[in-house]
Amino acid sequence: MKFVDEFRDAELGRAVAMEIMSLVEPGRHYKLMEVCGGHTHSIYKYGIDDLLPANVELVHGPGCPVCVIPMGRVDDGIAIAHQKGVIFTCFGDMMRVPGSDGSLLDAKAAGADIRMVYSPLDALRIAKQNPDREVVFFAIGFETTAPSTALTLKRAQAEGVPNFSVMCSHVTIVPPLRALLESPDLRLDGFIGPGHVSTVVGARPFQFIPADYRKPVVIAGFEPLDILQAIEMILRQLADGRCEVENQYKRVVPFEGNLRALEVLAEVFELRPHFEWRGLGFISHSGLRLSEAYSDLDAEVRFSVPGVRVADPKACQCGEVLKGVIKPWECKVFGTACTPERPIGTCMVSSEGACAAYYNFGRFAREREVV
């Protein structure tokens, strides 16, 4: 595929890997966090870990928007889905995320009308095609997906679609990053910044990371060469003793972000005082809800939801895994109470979560180190 294959060139990959090799100090261990789940996916898909020296470790961050949705929210979604006349719509990978009593897939099997959509606009179309049903869209994701939800809400309001509403679980990227950075036991040397989110918010929101916490950030694209180059840029900052926000993904991310999208977000959404993250607990001003002007399209207003908080099991140590304090297998419930088939914490929910990856591929990863 033209304009894609160029960024997957193995020859160039090897060249960047050599560059990386020349930048690392032997004996020093580097821990870099890729914040975004999309990066984690690419790292696994292309086996990027394999091209890195053994002392450069990638830590998978909290940026999988599906995995961070807490059990209580999934329960609320399922409760709405079970109400009479409701068609509940959501993105595909949300359907497997467990609540306290099963996932949306289980609820579908139990009779709820739950449908997978690719875009919130598909949900709106379903609403128009089914005027006698209530159609709810379960909106999740960071600033990446929030603008499409916002535009859909604007359209729904403009067109007056009375049977459409949104259960908003959108989150923002900066507060969880700050929460991670605030923890005294953090062991990270730098961040691969989230490319998709940055297309919307720009580079500016990440400047607090070098300014307040002295860690380099490089905003990166999602092709394997993008990620390798970002790692090279971070290691170069560390070698030079610099820390700043750099933009590897200039072909897509403008420094200021997408101002039009930011305007729409500000119009349609407002910050919740706090939002709960699976594995990380409550984080202030980290979630979005519909603003006053759109409250008639708010599913949480239209339907009664249990709104019960389901605590993560006490033994779950996702927070420490995410901070790089412990390895997945050091968690008390890893591999026993918490498995990919029956996950407890965010790191086990998605196949790309740090714990799920270790569970599935741990033995192999260790053998690779020996080789």
């Binding site: 997957r8 975004c36 292309y46 394999d50 091209l51 690719y118 591999g335 033995r363």
Partner: protein, 364 residues
């Protein structure tokens, strides 16, 4: 900091616990059937290994081949059955009727049995158009003729509107086990080569696009066809060196490889750049966030062949119409047993795991 020796001992212990858990026969613990149980991944495996296989255990069934072996008066026969519920009924490159013949014929073929005859059951929904039905009956007749099998018995049922989706088709096939074949899922040996009979992902992608949910347009046709001709040629050319054959239907090539890696307790390495994928399929998969290795095929098989016969097998395959793009995609190794690894085109390695549920598209 803790003592590294103690840490590594603990890690070993935990990895050991996980490995024991993984090697265990999957248990069926779910409260209800979900769509994941039909997707060909781990949930399907738990349904089959955890509920069905233990209930009906017998030497023939425990082989877990695509068709069961049965001997009648000294004649070795193979028996298989399959149901077809595809939506939409007609799609570019084929229809439910054609699938119902080829799918069952192929289960016999990859078991090393020459397909002889089929039964045909039709479950029809009240209100189904006679024209649509007639078209499928014609498709069935034509596909059966092309595959050289006869339909020798059948059944019809009609259910109320809403209790089926147009029509469902069940076919059972009987075949004669070919004396040239020594195939078994447990027969793979380290060093064996993995061959693929052509480009992958076309059937599943054609169906996804035909459902019209994605506003995507591409000229992708289902690859539905009988695999007996290519199996027949392979048996002729390299019969005794052929270890196992599988048609890569539901769950795709990835699921076949995982199943057999477990069954033979071997590892496999697949070279991604050797796997033939047509550009239209690669493009659609890229947009939908799906890996073609997990997408269903209806006319492609994976062949495991002893190393010294691999080149001969490959040339033989390529000479069969429809298999011109056949390729050697990898080989069987010893470590780590039960695992399938991929050498990515970018130069890295990853594990190609079993599907957990339906291949759900990722949001980002």
């Amino acid at each position: 900091m803790s003592d590294p020796a103690v840490v590594s001992e603990r890690e070993q212990k935990i990895l050991g616990i996980i490995e024991t858990a993984r090697a265990k026969r999957a248990k069926f613990r779910d409260e209800r059937i979900t769509m994941a149980h039909g997707a060909g991944g781990k949930a399907t495996q738990s349904l089959i290994e955890g509920l069905l296989a233990p209930a009906f255990s017998s030497p023939a069934l425990d082989e877990m081949a695509d068709a069961g072996a049965v001997e009648v008066a000294g004649v070795d026969l193979a028996l298989t059955t399959d149901s077809y519920v595809v939506k939409p009924m007609r799609f570019p490159g084929g229809s439910i009727g054609e699938l119902a013949v080829n799918g069952t014929v192929n289960d016999l073929a990859v078991s090393g049995a020459r397909p002889l005859a089929l039964s045909l059951s039709l479950i029809l929904e009240e209100g189904l158009g006679a024209e649509e039905l007639r078209a499928e009956v014609d498709a069935i007749a034509q596909a059966a003729r092309a595959a050289g099998v006869e339909i020798i018995t059948g059944d019809t049922k009609v259910v109320e509107r809403g209790h089926a989706d147009g029509m469902y088709v069940c076919t059972t096939g009987i075949g004669r086990r070919d004396p040239r074949a020594r195939l078994s899922p447990a027969a793979l040996r380290p060093g064996d080569r993995i061959l693929l009979s052509g480009s992958i992902g076309e059937h599943g992608t054609a169906i996804m696009l035909a459902r019209g949910e994605f506003d995507l347009d591409a000229e992708i046709e289902s690859d539905t066809r009988s695999l007996w001709p290519v199996v027949d040629s392979l048996l002729d050319a390299v019969g005794p060196e052929l270890r196992c054959l599988r048609d890569a239907t539901r769950g795709g090539v990835a699921s076949v490889l995982n199943e057999l890696a477990r069954a033979s307790s071997v590892a496999m390495i697949v070279r991604e750049r050797e796997v033939p994928v047509r550009p239209e399929v690669a493009g659609a998969a890229e947009i939908l966030g799906i890996d073609p290795m997990y997408v269903a095929n209806e006319g492609k098989l994976v062949a495991f062949v002893a190393a010294d016969a691999a080149e001969r097998a490959l040339q033989t395959m390529r000479s069969v119409p429809g298999c011109e793009a056949a390729a050697e995609i990898g080989e069987v190794r010893t470590e780590p047993p039960g695992m399938v690894l991929v050498e990515t085109s970018f130069g890295g390695k990853r594990v190609m795991d079993q599907l957990v549920g339906d291949p759900l598209p990722r949001i980002c």
